[in-house]
């Protein structure tokens, strides 16, 4: 088992004697953003913008440095995962849930992605959000820090409860940041939609945890996975399916994906950090973390793969006809997440995590690039009014192109390697998976180059004022772009497939103690086939990219869509379908309940009050001040008592 016993805690691991930072200090990593959140949140009215920016980004940078130092230990060969227990969190009867952190290769990788990409995005935000007033600027940074804290809790938790706390925390921050400009009603609604859809998934997750407690008497990763094989397959299938329901909410898969495109209401760096690089990959992390359970339940694996594949295709087709630059990227994110679930479903856990990493780089890059464009366009997001921007924005243009090449899967950029690994594993499972996956990859290449060509090539189509305003973004924006572009270009070399160079899959070897390296099950594919598939994918991606570029670079797609294109532009009318089937009936029910509440329940309550008031008003008349009246009443009372005594009691 890759999960160590508590006895190992605190012990120095395999030959690494002198370390600047011990593994016990892992609590610093989430604690720093929490401190940043508290400072920025509590003193937001008195801090200056520059100080807020320094605190916000600095805490994340510190976290990143601490993560790097600990990573130095974790990456040593032979390192087995450690559980760092901070304190007892919940103890009820036999159930004991410690507040513990899981330090191993998988959580370390996510830690680096979150703090590293997170820092770049914080840096970017200091410039992007600079027009906000100081208290709102600080509010933004405090939310962002709280998000990073929750996300770190999510990936560090050593049991499902801590993971769930982080899971809810990121959901909350996502809600707060989507609705950051809360004065806009539509943005507020988008935030609510994201929160509610996430809650639907979270319910599944919560029930899965309850089932685990009932079945295993524990929620610790080590205990649950150790006893998984002794549990009934039916129960395990229920647990894994419910966990997957949680993942569909958080990671925007069918049927709960519609919140993610709407989540683009938030500021662009938020979209980059939360809705592309980190939070939405929480579902992939969770399933990769509990891969022991999924390996035991082939039914769930099949469902995961099919849902992932369907989501990938559906979202990619919608992205073909979107004109809002952020919406295209949002659907692209949904599609890429579908890819990752396909990888998880076919057992390519390393591939899925690899794609999470490369996707974090290139999608954050693309979103930040889009943010840079929106910044230059003065808030304009419709790419039909852009065009020819490469003349004014050389850095954004170059980095965006690298991002497009990476996501389109053109070698040697990073997306090619991670996508290829997933596709290879899909082929080993079933050629149908492979075929649909390849088709999606081509769609991806097409819509990305449609986006790139429409935005950066051709001539400018906006207003004269906008043209006058066009400029390259300041360095706080371009530096993160350049760093991410370098990462997006070269990160693929961490996972060179065995067919190209044996033993060159650095990431696979690194993750092997947690995830177990190669894909499980399925038929092995020969080296020749694998190379052939790889070449096919690369050539097709390249061809489609060039085709899309040639087609859109001088004649952008400006006309209103007709026919089938209209269905795609209307997002397959899924939102309308949900509205008609779920939202409307619920609304009607709510109206009925409002009627009952207003008329019947309120009527009873108010009626009681009114009755008492009326009664007392009548009784008050008896107090006339006439002594004779009082005496009369007294005598009548005495007589009544006499009569009662005489006749009733006997």
């Amino acid at each position: 088992m890759p999960f160590c016993t508590p006895a190992l805690r605190g012990a120095k691991i395999g030959g690494s004697q002198s370390h600047f930072m011990s593994i016990q200090s892992i609590w610093l990593v989430p604690a720093l953003p929490l401190i940043g959140f508290l400072i920025n949140g509590l003193f937001r009215n008195s801090l200056s913008k520059s100080l807020t920016g320094i605190i916000g980004s600095g805490t994340i940078l510190f976290s990143f440095v601490v993560s790097l130092l600990i990573f130095g230990q974790v990456r040593q060969p032979g390192f087995q995962g450690e559980v760092v227990t901070l304190f007892d969190f919940i103890t009820v009867g036999k159930l004991s849930i410690p507040f513990a952190f899981q330090v191993d290769q998988l959580s370390m990788l996510f830690l680096l992605i979150i703090t590293g990409v997170g820092f770049l995005i914080h840096l970017y935000s200091t410039s992007y959000m600079h027009e906000e007033e100081a208290p709102h600027f600080a509010r933004y940074f405090s939310y962002l820090n709280l998000f990073v804290f929750s996300m770190l809790l999510l990936v560090l938790g050593a049991n499902f409860i801590i993971l769930f706390i982080g899971w809810e925390g990121v959901g909350l921050c996502s809600y707060l940041l989507i609705g950051y400009w809360f004065k806009n009603l539509e943005y507020g609604n988008a935030a609510k939609k994201a929160f509610i859809m996430n809650r639907i998934g979270d319910l599944g997750f919560l029930i899965a945890i309850f089932l685990m407690i009932q079945q295993f008497g524990s929620v610790g990763f080590g205990e649950v996975f150790a006893h998984a094989s002794s549990a009934k397959v039916g129960v395990l299938t229920a647990i894994t399916m419910l966990l997957f329901v949680g993942a569909t909410g958080k990671s925007a898969q069918i049927p709960l994906y519609t919140w993610l495109p709407d989540a683009m209401a938030g500021p662009t760096p938020v979209s980059a950090l939360i809705h592309a690089a980190t939070m939405v990959t929480a579902g992939i992390y969770m399933i990769a973390r509990s891969h022991v359970l999924y390996d035991l339940t082939p039914v769930t694996q099949g469902v995961v793969a099919v849902i992932g594949l369907l989501t990938a295709v559906l979202a990619a087709t919608i992205a073909l006809k979107q004109n809002d630059i952020k919406k295209v990227l949002a659907y692209s994110t949904v599609s890429q997440l579908g890819y990752m679930f396909l990888g998880l479903g076919v057992g390519a856990y390393t591939g899925a995590v690899f794609h999470v990493m490369t996707h974090a780089f290139f999608k954050a890059l693309l979103f930040l690039g889009a943010g840079s464009v929106i910044h230059a366009m003065g808030g304009e997001q419709d790419m039909r009014r852009m065009g020819g921007l490469r003349k004014w924005m050389p850095v954004t243009n170059a980095t965006f192109l690298i991002g497009c090449l990476a996501i389109a899967g053109i070698p040697p950029f990073s997306g090619f390697f991670s996508k290829d690994e997933i596709l290879g594993a899909a082929y080993a499972k079933s050629p149908i998976y492979y075929g649909v996956g390849l088709f999606t990859a081509m769609l991806t290449a097409f819509y990305m180059f449609r986006l790139y060509a429409t935005t950066f090539a051709g001539s400018f189509r906006g207003t004269h004022d906008q043209e006058h305003h066009l400029h390259e973004s300041p360095s706080a924006i371009t530096i993160p772009l350049v760093v991410l572009a370098i990462l997006a270009a070269v990160a693929g070399f961490l996972g060179i497939p065995a067919a190209l160079a044996p033993d060159a899959h650095v990431l696979g070897k690194y993750l092997a103690p947690v995830i177990g390296g190669e894909a499980h099950g399925g038929v092995e594919v020969s080296k020749g086939t694998e190379l052939g598939l790889m070449a096919l994918a690369a050539v097709l991606a390249l061809a489609v990219s060039v085709w899309a570029w040639m087609r859109f670079k001088s004649r952008p797609d400006l006309a209103e869509p007709t026919g089938f294109g209209k269905v795609l532009a209307g997002k397959w009318y899924v939102d309308e379908f949900y509205n008609a089937v779920i939202v409307k009936p619920l609304d009607l029910l709510a109206q009925l309940l409002v009627f009952i509440e207003k008329n019947i329940i309120d009527g009873i309550v108010n009626g009681v009050g009114r009755l008492v008031q009326y009664g007392s008003r009548q009784l008050r008349l008896m107090q006339s001040g006439q002594v004779g009246g009082y005496v009369l009443l007294m005598v009548v009372g005495i007589l009544v008592l006499f009569l009662v005594e005489l006749f009733v009691k006997k």
């Binding site: 006339s624 001040g625 004779g628």
Partner: protein, 109 residues
């Protein structure tokens, strides 16, 4: 003499008192009616005391003497009460130039 006679007399006096209190408006008459009720009850007390200790009077001549004494106490207290009550009525008359109780309804506010 049978006890019934005492009871009838006391009840008759009490009812006259009640009727007087209920029907009259003059404070002094009301006051006298209250005294009437009080004395009706007093009479009843004496009568019952005598009835209870009648059998013992041959052997113990002082049996039941505390009941008779108690009545004297009541009369003393009633006399004190009357003096206070009359003082109240005098003050009332000085303030309102009337001893009609129906005028005195300001306590209801």
């Amino acid at each position: 003499m049978p006890i019934n006679y005492y009871i009838f007399l006391a009840v008759a006096l009490f009812c006259i008192g009640v009727a007087g209190v209920l029907t009259r408006r003059n404070a002094i008459i009301i006051f006298m009616c209250i005294e009437l009720m009080l004395n009706a009850v007093n009479l009843l007390l004496v009568a019952f005391s005598k009835m209870h200790y009648h059998a013992l009077s041959a052997t113990a001549p002082h049996a039941g003497i505390d009941g008779q004494l108690f009545v004297f106490f009541i009369m003393v207290v009633a006399a004190a009460e009357v003096s206070v009550g009359l003082a109240v009525i005098v003050m009332m008359y000085r303030n309102t130039h009337s001893i009609d109780v129906n005028f005195l309804n300001r306590l209801k506010h």
